[in-house]
């Protein structure tokens, strides 16, 4: 399993650089959707929560697992809806805005 951990570490380091590069060009105008969008992306935690709950055996693990799944689902859904609502406004303002 140690080999997997090292692989994950390499991947993680590369992902950090990708995150830095991708974001460094975002204009101030889009700082809120960027933050809210990345808030949605870390909603991937739901996948981990499902796995953790799926493998749990004791009632205590199950109880905490359910909490993890609920919170993860709130993160991912709420994060998505908020981001989408904000970006919808930027769309609209483009169409409506005059010269």
């Amino acid at each position: 399993m140690a080999a997997d951990l090292w692989t994950a570490l390499f991947i993680g380091i590369l992902a950090a650089f990708v995150g830095y590069e991708v974001i460094s060009r975002v204009p101030v105008l889009l700082h809120t959707p960027l933050m809210s969008g990345s808030n949605f992306i870390h909603g991937i935690v739901l996948v981990g929560a499902i796995v953790a709950l799926g493998f749990s055996t004791t009632p205590l693990e199950q109880a905490i697992g359910v909490v993890a799944v609920i919170m993860g689902a709130m993160n991912v859904t709420g994060g998505y809806v908020v981001t989408e609502r904000i970006l919808a406004m930027f769309d609209r303002s483009k169409k409506r805005g005059g010269p």
Partner: protein, 465 residues
């Protein structure tokens, strides 16, 4: 025997991660941003769905998973849907907190089930520390933004030694639990980490929220990545890689945004976290001149006969929900041939880009919004600047040695021919610092709630036709 499920799950995760990266990249332009987030949404949905076929998940837990997903999704969807646009900062804070909480809870499950596996338990411990700090801190940020908790810094004696002690004791207990494989110590560990998150956020004031929200967002990303590392090194495997990539992506992006926000205030992140900025008021400086009140009718005339008007909004506009009135005012002025621009300071409001969102909500085209660096050289040629509910971000005290604001890059509105400040009263800004601007010869004060005051301007302008 290799089941078909594993390659399928892995392939879907790989694709999902690619779409996430492209989705964040699409955020670099307003034209592509929406498409990017919709694609990322679809990818996320498929990634979550495919997780159910991972071999080895206990079928007896499926009902629990389904219940959790349904409750969480409905709650998140409903809440995010019904909330007012002006409450967006607290929404971002709370959903981010949920992510941190989920990461902490996953870590708890991992710790309970794999305490003897040192790499899993060590990484889970790290994920728990950061995740618990993030949920607790985000909750305080939420309460402050919602106005349920005083937004001024909350300070008490020996604050930082106390906070550090809580952190150290908490981490020590967690480490002890892992070391001795005794689950009982995990409970006080988690409680202390939550307490640490609360204590960390308490002394941070409202105006520093853009930095703080962004920071907690980055922290949740890191917590998710750490959980991912724990899953990868345990028997649960594949989902971990997706969490490592997505979590690190957000951790890096969020850290960068946090640094940008801190830089916009010319302060370090450490100073924002531990400085309790705004808890004390500046004393000993006297400013020459006086605040000169002005009537709405006079302001309306001034605006109507201007060539160029720049509107500088701040948190006061958000509080008063004045953005629609501001849009109405801008439209009226443009109909009279006045050029109207908006000057946006990066940390105006309570989250990064807050003003942009509010003005977009009102339907103001984003090509009329200008960054501090774009608009500052133009102020000498601007006839009237209308400051609506902004204070510290237009305070020329930033150029004065010895001021707490010294060095903060501001909107240089005082260079315009005339400045009108719409403000509720004569009070000081968030930072508790007198605003030199209000005493300048070319500055006049229009007192009142932002919505009411701009409404008066609109009425006065309509009368002039």
């Amino acid at each position: 025997m290799i089941a078909w499920q594993e390659p399928l799950v892995d392939a879907v995760y790989v694709l999902a991660v690619i779409v996430f990266i492209l989705g964040l990249r699409a955020m670099s332009s307003p034209a592509t941003a929406r498409r990017g987030i919709v694609q990322a949404g679809v990818a996320m949905l498929i990634a979550v769905a495919v997780t159910f076929v991972i071999p080895g998940l206990r079928e007896s837990n499926f009902a629990l998973i389904a219940i959790g997903v349904i409750i969480g999704s409905l709650a998140g969807w409903y809440w995010a849907r019904v909330v007012q646009m002006t409450a967006m900062p607290q929404m971002v804070a709370i959903f981010n907190g949920m992510g941190g909480g989920s990461a902490a809870a996953i870590a708890a499950v991992e710790l309970l089930g794999n305490l003897s596996n040192t790499s899993v338990s060590g990484l889970s411990l790290a994920g728990a520390i950061i995740g618990a700090t993030s949920i607790a801190g985000s909750m305080i940020a939420f309460l402050k933004l919602q106005g349920w908790l005083r937004s001024k810094p909350i300070v008490y004696p020996a604050q930082q030694p106390t906070n550090i002690a809580v952190l150290v004791v908490g981490v020590a207990l967690g480490t002890y639990a892992v070391w001795m494989t005794q689950t009982i110590w995990l409970l006080p560990f988690f409680l202390l980490m939550l307490l640490f998150g609360f204590l960390l956020a308490l002394p941070i004031g409202g105006a520093d929220m853009p930095v703080v929200i962004s920071l907690f967002n980055a922290l949740t990303g890191i917590a998710v990545a750490l959980d991912g590392f724990a899953l990868v090194s345990g028997p649960l495997g594949d989902a971990g890689y997706a969490m490592v990539i997505a979590g690190t992506l957000v951790g890096a992006a969020g850290s960068l945004l946090t640094l940008l926000m801190a830089k916009a205030m010319n302060r370090s992140v450490g100073n924002v976290l531990f400085g309790a900025f705004g808890a004390t008021e500046e004393t000993g400086t006297t400013i020459q001149g006086s605040m000169k009140p002005i009537e709405a009718d006079d302001v309306a005339a001034m605006l109507a006969y201007a060539n160029t008007v720049v509107i500088a909004p701040g948190y006061g506009m958000a509080v008063a929900q004045a953005q629609q009135k501001v849009k109405e005012l801008a439209d009226l002025l443009e109909a009279k041939g006045v050029t109207v621009k908006f000057a946006i300071h990066p940390v105006a409001g309570r989250m990064p880009g807050h003003m942009n969102v509010l003005l977009a909500e009102a339907g103001i085209s984003y090509d009329k919004l200008f960054d501090r660096d774009e608009i500052n050289p133009e102020f000498p040629n601007v006839d009237v600047v209308l400051v609506i509910g902004a204070n510290d971000v237009v305070n020329p005290a930033a150029h004065r040695a010895g001021s707490p604001l010294q060095g903060m890059p501001i909107l240089d509105v005082e260079n315009a021919h005339n400045v009108i400040v719409i403000k509720r009263g004569q009070g000081k800004g968030f930072a508790g610092i007198e605003n030199d601007l209000f005493y300048k010869d070319n500055c006049h004060m229009l007192y009142g709630d932002a919505q009411a005051a701009v409404g008066k301007l609109v009425t006065a302008l309509k009368k002039m036709d």
